[in-house]
């Protein structure tokens, strides 16, 4: 299986925008969606990306983050959840797959998302969700991580 591109997620609290050093977290692009994106961080409950969800419209550029949980009954396949999040206007979607072992495998099979879809887990995810819990406005920039040329890596 070919390695996937890694993402750099830089998050800055709006109140620290001028001075503050961003939190940098690594993730994995899926679905051939590697690319750059920027927007405000916005959490979505996993059940809000279902067929029965009404279209809660956000204004302005935002980046959706969803904490997936294996105990939450899956109302839609993750590919459709990712697309639904993008259809709701997200500039990119970040899935915290720390507590949903199958999610990573399911999403890695995807291809051709129109905008970046990134998986995060472990400490990186913990940092991001910790920020969400503070419920403070934050700006997120997602970029492709540049690997040094000579390194062969396999994921």
């Amino acid at each position: 299986e070919h390695p996937l591109l890694r993402a750099l997620i830089k998050v800055t609290l709006l109140k620290h925008e001028a001075t503050g050093k961003p939190i940098v977290v690594e993730g994995l692009f899926v679905g051939g969606s590697a690319g750059k994106a920027e927007g405000r961080l916005m959490q979505y409950h996993p059940l809000s990306l279902c067929n029965t969800s009404e279209d809660e419209r956000q204004d302005g550029d935002f980046i959706t983050i969803v904490k997936l949980e294996h105990r939450v009954p899956r109302c839609l396949p993750l590919l459709d959840k990712a697309r639904m999040a993008l259809d709701k206007g997200a500039q990119a979607v970040i899935f915290d797959v720390s507590d949903d072992a199958n999610a990573a495998a399911e999403l890695r099979e995807a291809n051709s998302f129109s905008r970046p879809v990134v998986l995060v887990e472990a400490q990186g995810a913990e940092d991001l969700m910790g920020l969400v819990n503070k419920n403070e406005e934050a700006n997120v920039v997602i970029e492709i991580k540049v690997e040094p040329k000579w390194l062969h890596y396999d994921v």
Binding site: Q43, L47, K67
Partner: protein, 110 residues
């Protein structure tokens, strides 16, 4: 995040970041937006602007009314309580009654 905090009343399963993810039977899950967070809460009846949709699997959820100027609705398209000062007719809310309809001011209906 195993071992979540004790769940709030009406909630069967919850987590630190998502709030409730499964409500007790007969209750409705409401996905409450609070700035950047969105957490699940369990309610016996849905808040203003929402109605309760039941389904056989018990995944009952609060769903948005799709009618202008409506505070409470029966389903997506039928309002049961219009905003103050508006008249209701066949589940919709009007500033003034449609032509051909008599105004009943005591019940604010056409």
């Amino acid at each position: 995040t195993e071992g979540p905090p004790s769940c709030p009343k009406g909630c069967d399963r919850c987590s630190e970041y998502n709030g409730c993810v499964k409500c007790k039977p007969k209750l409705f899950i409401f996905l409450e937006r609070n700035d950047i967070r969105q957490v699940g809460v369990c309610l016996a009846s849905c808040p203003v602007g929402y109605f309760g949709m039941r389904n056989p699997e018990g995944n009952n959820r609060c769903t948005q009314c799709k009618i202008d100027n409506c505070e409470a609705c029966f389903n997506r398209n039928f309002c049961t309580k219009c905003k103050e000062g508006l008249y209701s007719h066949s589940g919709r809310c009007y500033v003034s009654c449609p032509p051909g309809q008599r105004t009943a001011n005591e019940t604010m209906e056409c």
